[in-house]
Subunit: 346 residues, 2 copies
């Protein structure tokens, strides 16, 4: 039962896995015919088919995709997916959906996380490309020149997801973060907020959350109000970051009457800070998030936020990539809709 022993045993008799050649020999056909049967490629009689399949299952044949991908070079079925992180936010959902969708089409996913660091993205991509993947899904629209160049040289389909890129390398599937921020800013202003702040995370990462911040700032400027006060924590976004980010921001700007957060988790942290410090929401303070995360479903008040269907984004990204791989027509820019949820915290 112990695999370890089996491993050691296997060291001795070396290769024992049945290969196509052995199936072919056992079925008394050529490798080619066996190959055709296994791939269901046509060009064999019913009788041959049965014989080959019988032998394959008798010998526990497991095709070697390494050899397949290597031999045919076009048929790699390997797809790389890179996201900032897997925990906390919506990326877990997105990756899970991408993986499921790709698997349905017969592709396997190689994942990676890069914490929004372009140098990490670059080295991940370099390693990935050595596996000759048939496509790549990246997060965001910002990439180093080397990343772009490598992708170019590889000449494989690339989907940039999450953040809409109107001038994508290849295909972009994402959300218009600027608009999300702008709309939220307008909503806050329309509800009478006059001194608005922003709490975010990951200072080295422009784009995405930061783009929403910019949108919000613009809405505020357009309304002729005092500029957005911001606090970008050197941390990952999350509940606790939202909590202490609020503390920090308010210690600098006590008179704020609303705070926009990078995401819902941070907003929930902000709500907690307020409740722990006798700040009434929404009377004393408006709180707004982004994402439509699961937590919001159990809050006492309905969180003011913008919802985004993570599952839908993942599915669209995966499907767009598959379409590109199959050389089917796909739109260059696919916008995933979001919905402003006014709620009663903002």
């Amino acid at each position: 039962m112990h695999v370890r022993k089996a491993v050691i045993a296997a060291m001795k008799d070396k290769k024992q896995r049945a290969s196509l050649a052995e199936i072919a020999r056992a079925a008394r056909v050529s490798k080619m015919t066996a190959s055709r049967v296994m791939r269901d490629a046509g060009g064999f009689s019913e009788e041959t088919r049965e014989r080959v399949l019988r032998e394959a299952s008798r010998l526990n044949y497991v095709p070697n995709r390494l050899a397949v991908a290597f031999a045919s070079d076009a048929a790699s079925t390997l797809v790389g997916v890179l996201v900032p992180r897997l925990s906390g936010g919506l990326f877990g959902d997105v990756v899970e959906t991408i993986d499921r969708t790709l698997a349905r089409f017969g592709y396997q996913t190689m994942i990676g996380t890069y914490e929004q660091r372009l140098d990490v993205e670059e080295s991940w991509l370099k390693a990935l490309l050595s596996w000759r993947p048939t496509g790549v899904i990246l997060t965001g629209r910002r990439h180093s020149p080397q990343t772009t160049a490598m992708l170019q040289a590889a000449s494989i389909p690339v989907v940039e997801m999450w953040e809409l890129n109107t001038r994508p390398m290849d295909v972009s599937v994402g959300v218009n973060h600027f608009d999300c921020g702008y709309e939220m800013g307008r909503l806050l202003v329309s509800r009478g907020r006059r001194k608005i702040g922003y709490v975010g995370a990951e200072p080295h990462a422009p784009g995405m959350g930061r783009t929403r911040m910019t949108g919000c700032a613009e809405a505020i400027r357009d309304a002729g109000l005092a500029p957005l006060e911001t606090e970008i924590l050197n941390d990952r976004p999350g509940f606790y970051a939202g909590f202490y980010g609020t503390e920090t921001l308010l210690s600098r700007h006590a008179s704020l009457d609303a705070i926009y957060y990078q995401d819902d988790a941070m907003a929930v942290g902000g709500l907690s800070f307020c409740s722990a410090n006798g700040i009434t929401v929404p009377d004393d303070m408006g709180i707004a998030g982004w994402g439509g995360m699961d937590v919001t479903s159990v809050l006492e008040k309905k969180l003011t936020t913008t919802t985004m269907a993570a599952t839908r984004l993942g599915k669209s990204a995966a499907e767009a990539l598959v379409a590109r791989i199959h050389d089917e027509p796909v739109a260059d820019v696919i916008e995933v809709p979001t919905r402003l949820v006014p709620g009663n915290t903002g």
Copy 2:
């Protein structure tokens, strides 16, 4: 800039990527020498080394890991990791850590999710094995006979993580869930709880959460109290599931004075339900969770729970696998410690 055009162009001139042979020719050495230099395998002069590396970088050489893995068959560096899900709970953290750790050692991760469905695990494994991975990390201790058989036949290292298995296929790195549940049961009892309930999810999945439930039930039985009342939702664990699971359970058993949840997210959902329905915690109702998730850091009250270091688990699992691959000594059973946090909700 549009990769799409590049792709189409590439279709024409087919192979253009530099291969080892071309590097070798350009450096005026044999393929073998070039290979040795690239792998830093020794057996070449300093001068040769420089010449080869210069040509490699000049020609933008990207080694073909497909060919490497195929040719050497031992050197596959591909590792499969299967978890129930990537979103919501702690698995995102675990997978992220595993991936990072494995990457540091030069391995690439192929992930999959199976929602605790053994048939999905089986088919995922089947697909994975065709890539001739050098190792596999699975979740839990329960696997179908076919899964076990395939792993056996593959004779590769296997780490079963998350749930401790004292009789592992190969190596087990995990938590003793039974003890977690038993301890929590004892704590609740010691605090005067007399009618305890349990809210969980994923009814088709035994193990893990269910094992904690069993542990808790046993503690209650040992204390001579009325048996644990349970509610297993046909849903994924999460905030909302915790909320309505509480509602359902209480509608059946109104007199409960404490509820143990499958995880912290569900417990937070339970807290919300109580607060929304005028049930005072901990006076009227005790609430306990599991996992030590991020959310708990911003709750008003300190949640009664058991913390588990997801990052540590992931790191241990990955390191154990690497050690097995390298044929270094590893313990068969590695217990990841947990800590009971009494809190003030239970």
